[in-house]
Amino acid sequence: MTNLSIFTLVFMTQIFLLSVFYPGKLLQRMRTIQKKYPESTHPKLYPKSTNYYQKMSSFYGIINGLIFILGWVIVYYVHEGSLVSEKGINQMLPWVYFMIQMIPTWLLEIFGFRLSKLMKQEDTRKQKSATLAPRRLTEYVSPQLLSAVIITYFVFVVIAFYIEGCKFELDGKAFQMSVILLLCYAFFFGMMSWLIYGKKPDPYQSKTDRIKTITLVIKTYCYTMMACAFFMVFALAVSIHGLKSMMPVAMSLFLQFIVVISMGYMLHNNRLEDINFDVYRADSETS
């Protein structure tokens, strides 16, 4: 099997996973919510009309469909040779396509923010409550998992410098990748901090559900950080040993893995049956 065939196969799974499988699951979830918890019984869940949600769902489906077609166009041009240089397939190709594939998810996030804002505007309750205790990161994830994340970084640094022959050079790959990974960690820790302290909560969501959702998201961040460290060790080893032709395949597999441990993990563990939708009923007063 040639490198091109392997890449095509792996890239096709990326197209399917991110533009068909998970978007399909999300759409199914949206439809189930609208069917099981309709506007008539759960008006607080719908700051806009049901028609608007249906339009958004269709829009989400259409964008994913277009991105799916774009994926096949890329496969065609890779096979035709237009996207293949003398050095082989550009290793950033799966990454660029991945970023495009994530656009519908980001749009969905923005849509969620808007709805949350509307929910807050429509919230007529006069009393607001808060717990008189600080929230800690360790309330959401175990100290063991957090330690594992931090240890993974140091393991990466040690292995990276070992692979590079224990040379410390500012323009060396090990140093540069250590900085990149550190920035990546800083970004995720910043996101965790925002989720715990800064994100405006859904005004009706039950406290248990809020904690559960944040816990799941933070766990996915932890797994993603560790996966990034392992991938960067792999990437460094590949570049040192001159196996760059493997990178597009590895990159695509890594991105798929990231989606499975983030989106897949969230969808699997944050099941609709476990969410308290009663808080969105017209007569509900819980916060």
């Binding site: 006069k126 607001k128 808060a130 008189l132 205790a133 600080p134 405006k200 909560p201």
Partner: protein, 127 residues
């Protein structure tokens, strides 16, 4: 321990916060040394402005009900229980009442007292 603020109450939000934290101390719901949420967290949870919570914390710190330990956060003051019973507002009112009574006794009119009071308040601090 939960605190609740009424956004339509005539009592300012920062005063509600101050009162509720003092009540929590008095009722033993929070103990000396207990950590308090950060300004940002509390403001976010109560959907308030950060400045409102900061003002409440500043007043509580002035009354030695809470203490801020730099980056470690804000904690209940070791003498919070005793300091909670001191009501500075009531003390100020009592002092003013006594002073105004003395002025009236000396024949100073209410408008003269108001003008003098405003003048003194408008003077720069320490001046």
């Amino acid at each position: 321990m939960e605190i609740t603020v009424d956004i339509e109450s005539a009592t300012p939000m920062f005063s509600q916060l101050v009162m509720q934290i003092k009540q929590a101390v008095q009722h033993g719901k929070v103990a000396p040394g207990d950590p308090l949420p950060s300004i940002r967290q509390l403001a976010n949870d109560l959907e308030m402005n950060n400045k409102t919570v900061a003002k409440a914390y500043r007043l509580l710190e002035r009354d030695s009900v809470i203490q801020t330990k730099g980056y470690r956060g804000t904690f209940i003051h070791p003498d919070a229980m005793a300091n909670c019973t001191v009501d500075l507002n009531a003390w100020v009112t009592k002092q003013l009442r006594e002073t105004i009574a003395t002025f009236r006794k000396a024949g100073v009119t209410d408008s003269e007292i108001r003008i003098a009071f405003a003048d003194v308040l408008n003077q720069p601090q320490g001046g």
